[in-house]
């Protein structure tokens, strides 16, 4: 095929060329993750939402009072992920759970890094396990580990 007969080619990168800041509430939570700290936000009735939301999910009031909560909590419900989705942060089978941290009135979604489903039960206590290098992202939390095991970070 001569040079003039070759089809025209152009590089196309599919992108989402917009940025937005995470704001005072989500941003504060993400900054906390980088510092190995977990924050929630107080509602007008005194209860605490973790992870924090900018507006009250029931009354729609703007929320502003951040409070630090514990790095340990209770598994409210769980399922077993095997194999993990290719895009997910985890390579090994693990539990997907809703965890209510001590000091919080709501639960957050994250993994419990247990070896098998037989180690899982509703109501078990778990503690945060952090990544060595943290960038201010939900995956700075490597997951949670059962409290019977040694917390290594």
């Amino acid at each position: 095929m001569s040079e003039s007969e070759k089809p025209l080619k152009a590089e196309l990168t599919v992108e989402y060329p917009f940025t937005r800041t995470t704001g005072k509430v989500i941003g504060a939570f993400m900054t906390g993750l980088r510092e190995k700290r977990l924050f929630g936000i107080k509602r007008s009735d005194g209860s605490v939402l973790v992870p924090p939301l900018e507006y009250d999910p029931i009354t729609s009031e703007p929320l502003t009072e951040m409070v630090e909560v514990s790095q340990s909590g209770v598994v409210e419900t769980w399922t077993w992920i095997d194999p993990p989705r290719p895009q997910s942060p985890w390579d090994a089978p693990h539990a997907l759970t809703l965890i209510r941290l001590d000091g919080s009135d709501t639960s957050m979604l994250h993994a419990v890094l247990a070896g098998s489903p037989s180690e899982m039960r509703t109501g078990m206590r778990v503690s945060a396990k952090w990544k060595e290098e943290r960038v201010g992202h939900i995956t700075d939390l490597e997951g949670f580990i059962p409290e019977t095991k040694e917390v290594d970070s």
Binding site: P51, T79, P84, R85, Q87, R100, L109
Partner: protein
């Protein structure tokens, strides 16, 4: 629905749907061209006589921006038509069409929706609808989230594994007479269902919906126009949709309060319901919905088999409406409730109550 308003009478006058495991060598345009023709022919109308056209589909599922524009080829968009689209299940497109008919400028509407999940990975597509900061980066698939909900119900003693198996059995038996049902069986037993392997603990194979390709088309008409197009129109007596928080951790996942509210506002249980078609992606979700809608033994629930038998993303909700309407139009039922859901763990819910005369 608030009785003090003067709503125009709107009815479903014609329906057509098709679902199958994999639509091979048939694209969305070909699928919908066939269904829309069937629907228009059975009502005896041409596209020129349709006042408004509204569709529901997902660009995320099709992998292409404005993918619904291609599918308009199946409608025939010349001469120019009045048209709209929702990135939602077709049941929500039907709601938009119902509002358009209330405005009073047009008397007929065509509503359709479709999905072809076989071309991609639906469980990953659904992960992208979640909170982009806290949840989506963890890529939880839709069935895992539904499993968290099912375990909460089991732990609290609100349902049992046997009860879930009974729902799966009902679906598979009912689906046997439905050509669109992909998972169906005449003689499935509770024992076999209880012994099925777990897919996402505690959900077994038959506890989760059977993902299929397909689509649905519905024609709506007002008052005398409806009576001229259909011998026994299925009148929309109430339609309402409500939303729970996007954040899973703040909701009581053992309930769907928005489903309850939508049914109450639509007048679901002010009178006997002969039939109910409910939209859940697990047996456990069907149990939640039965409770929220206060359904009793006098109501036949999911005679089509429901989504456990055949679940087409973006069309399953509209198909629930078409299944109830079809039974009213044919005289098999007098009054029915149709439900559509969207979002994780029954977050958004639409209820449509239909009646024959």
């Amino acid at each position: 629905m608030n009785e003090s308003h003067n709503f125009r009478d709107v009815a479903v006058v014609s329906v057509a749907s098709h679902q199958t495991k994999t639509l091979s060598e048939v694209n969305e345009v070909q699928l919908m061209a066939d269904l829309i023709s069937k629907c228009r022919n059975s009502a005896g109308v041409t596209q020129e006589e349709i006042g408004f056209t509204c569709s529901g589909s997902s660009d995320f599922l099709a992998g292409q921006a404005f993918s619904f524009v291609h599918t308009l080829d199946s409608v025939g968009a010349f001469p120019p038509i009045s048209e709209s689209h929702v990135e939602m299940d077709g049941a929500f497109a039907l709601y938009e069409a119902w509002v358009k008919l209330q405005i009073g400028e047009v008397d007929t509407a065509l509503v359709y929706s479709y999905g072809k999940p076989s071309a991609g990975s639906i469980i990953d597509v659904l992960a992208t609808q979640l909170d982009p900061y806290y949840v989506s980066p963890l890529w939880p698939d839709c069935f895992s989230l539904a499993a968290l909900q099912a375990r909460l119900l089991l732990d609290k003693g609100l349902i049992s594994l046997e009860k879930m198996a009974e729902i799966s059995k009902r679906s598979q038996k009912n689906g046997f007479d439905n050509p669109n049902a992909v998972r169906s069986s005449k003689d499935v037993s509770i024992e076999n269902l209880m012994n099925e392997p777990t897919i996402v603990d505690p959900l077994r194979v038959s506890d989760i919906s059977e993902i299929t390709d397909g689509g649905c088309a519905v024609i709506l008409a007002t008052g005398d126009k409806a009576k001229s197009l259909c011998e026994r129109p299925a009148w929309i007596k109430g339609i309402d949709h409500r939303v729970d928080s996007h954040t899973l951790g703040v909701r009581d996942l053992t309930r769907s309060s928005s489903a309850f509210l939508a049914a109450e506002k639509a007048g679901g249980n002010i009178d006997r319901l002969d039939v109910a078609e409910i939209h859940g992606m697990t047996s456990a979700q069907e149990l939640i919905l039965e409770k929220e809608f206060c359904l009793t033994e006098e109501t036949q629930i999911n005679p089509s088999g429901g989504c456990l038998a055949s679940d087409t993303m973006m069309a399953s909700g509209l198909i629930r409406i078409s299944e109830v309407a079809r039974r009213i139009i044919s005289g098999q039922a007098d009054r029915g409730l149709a439900h559509a859901t969207s979002g994780p763990c029954l977050q958004q819910n639409l209820v449509c109550v239909l009646e024959g005369e």
